[in-house]
Symmetry: C2
Subunit: 389 residues, 2 copies
């Protein structure tokens, strides 16, 4: 018998018909279902600049369950909006340092051997506000540039082998079909290791906002490099030094120099329940739950603190723990009704321990804008309200 709050036992019922629902003939079947009209959860903090189509929206992590992000709520980060692409007209061209330039239709790509892999995608700007001292008021604002899906496609290595890459090829420059021709340079080792050309997401065709009909997916690496609406792979001896890998998505040091090509997303985590903006109904039993992930491989362990980070308890990892995929963690908590600082930290299979914000500031200085993965703390007040720290 679990130690549940006494409140569960307080409600008895009569022996009459037990619910308020009145029997009535229901709705008929639909070709493609929709969620209940009572469900209003939406992508949050949609921001756009003066430039058309430049902006982001965030996954409402605090409202979700399990590990899969519903495709309709996957975060967005666009630099030129979402292009409308007719799949029958779409081509993937591979050229440069290959024996023969090739052009594939979507049907060609679907004919290759395929794989299905659950992986997270995280924008390297996720949590940047935390480092800057602008803590996100809720889990969406603090960590919502992170989503997790079941992806299906063909290994990039399979397609590159078909094009016969030459020996002096060291980079693959991937270009999207959006209006800004988003392009990033991918080291050949990553291209051949576990990179995917993805045409499906959570069982059906990729969504437009995630690159329909085809995207690159670099498991565990910063989202920006997983080029959406992929139409070109230029195999080359040198990186292209594109705008997005030189002027942006670099890590600025205190001395003004910057690290480029820092692709890997390090271990991170966030408690989603209870989290900022939520309110606990009262003292007693509560489950604390959240998501953890690491771009280096599998999550080994998640620890939760109920005193702001002084002491840590190991949480349960719910369900298959897969490399470079988010996992749900859970830990029971008997809340005594006193103000409490809760926090989580992820330890991955390499032994890496998610650091605190202070540790990151000490190591990188205040200029760093990307790849923030500091421990996130939430403050539970005596009235049950939860706020960001």
């Amino acid at each position: 018998m679990l130690a549940l709050g006494a409140s569960f036992m307080a409600v008895s019922c009569s022996k009459n018909e037990p619910t308020a629902a009145k029997p009535q003939s229901g709705l008929t079947m639909r070709a493609y279902g929709e969620r209940s009209p009572f469900e209003k959860t939406q992508r949050g903090a949609r921001e756009s600049t003066k430039s058309i189509g430049v902006g982001s929206s965030r996954t409402p992590l605090q409202d979700l369950y399990g590990t899969i992000t519903p495709s309709s709520l996957h975060f967005e980060r666009h630099h030129a909006g979402v292009p409308v692409i007719e799949p029958a007209a779409h081509r993937l061209v591979i050229h440069g340092l290959v024996e023969q330039a090739v052009s594939f239709t979507m049907e060609d790509l679907r004919r290759f051997p395929s794989v299905t892999r659950p992986h997270f995608i995280e924008c390297s700007g996720n949590g940047g506000g935390e480092l800057a001292g602008n803590a996100g008021a809720d889990a969406s604002r603090s960590h919502g540039l992170l989503s997790n899906s079941e992806w299906t496609g063909v290994k990039l290595s399979t397609v590159l082998e078909a094009a016969k890459v030459k020996a002096d090829a060291k980079w693959v420059i991937a270009e999207g079909a959006d209006a800004c021709r988003m392009a990033r340079s991918i080291p050949m080792a990553k291209a051949m290791e576990d990179s995917l050309l993805v045409y499906a997401q959570n069982g059906e065709a990729l969504r437009p906002e995630q690159g329909y009909p085809l995207r690159l997916l670099l498991p565990g690496w910063e989202g920006n490099a997983s080029i959406k609406w992929l139409h070109r792979l230029h195999v080359a001896a040198e990186a292209a030094m594109t705008n997005q890998e030189t002027a942006h998505y670099t890590d600025l040091h205190p001395d003004g120099k910057a690290t480029i090509f820092s692709f890997e997303m390090e271990a991170s985590s966030v408690i989603t329940r209870p989290s900022g903006g939520q309110k606990l109904a009262g003292a007693g039993f509560h489950e604390v739950s959240g998501l953890a992930w690491s771009g280096r491989g599998k999550v080994a362990k998640v620890e939760v603190s109920f005193d702001g980070g002084a002491n840590w308890k190991e949480a349960v990892l719910d369900g298959p723990v897969l490399p470079k995929a988010a996992v749900r963690f859970r830990i029971p908590w008997q809340w005594d009704g006193q103000p409490t600082l809760i926090a989580s930290r992820c330890i991955d299979e390499t032994g890496y321990v998610q650091p605190t914000r202070d540790e990151i500031l000490a190591a990188r200085g205040p200029n760093s804008q990307y790849h923030y993965n500091g421990v996130k703390r939430w403050s539970v007040k005596a009235d049950g309200s939860v706020t960001s720290v």
Copy 2:
């Protein structure tokens, strides 16, 4: 280097801009995304009787990828339509052989310790047409009353323990809030083993067609018993012998007697690509892929035949392989262009081997309507067209 069809290599390209897509500023962000307007896949074979709200729709397995069924394409089987339920007004009542009758709100239920589990749900009528000799023309019509989702909720055992079940309780009678008050009797052993009260599906709230805001989920058992729109659990010493467990969902023997309470869905599988209604572009390399599942536990092995069932080759299971969950299998195939009968069979961790239709007919006779799990064969013609056998 994979042995791919020469057709992949035949298309070279110029060095000019490689795709047909013309750069244009794309669409802006949306609060809740939708699929591409070019995607038309829908639930198939929507059938309804003269009674309002009685019918089914099928998952288009032949058009899907990976293991997750998109919630919008989960199969439906309704006996009184889809009720519209306001979650704030919904209650789950537990009464009968318990120390104290209790009534839970949805917030109460979400406060219990939760679990996330991928599981299939299969209607026990799935494949019934195959047994009757009316082979489904495509994978939707043959096996589309099967879907697979990531479910989140509370263990039924947790909630029953909270209500303090009495020693003489042997059954839990679950009742839905649809207009027909669908009800089924669940043995206490299953209720305490792995049954779930589910409020979320694939990361967000349960869809209306799958029982919003709350359903029962009995992993591996016939779908009808996983009562949707769950509002009542009557704990009892005897089964209720409801309409749906006596007049329907029973297995009729040749002598006119019937087996009741045959809940378990045995090992099954279906090749979804290539499958009925599809057409191969030509001889050469093709990947054969499909889904396999077992209500008894994990899938141990899937074998594929390219000669109608005389010889079998082991397919790759594209992991993770989880108990009572569908798994994607794949196997490479060099098609010589000749007419070919392809088939798959599932072997589960108990050693059970999916039988042929003839074996099922010999064992059960022709009256059996439910729990058909015979090996499904597809005929590939010389012109590449695929039909049902």
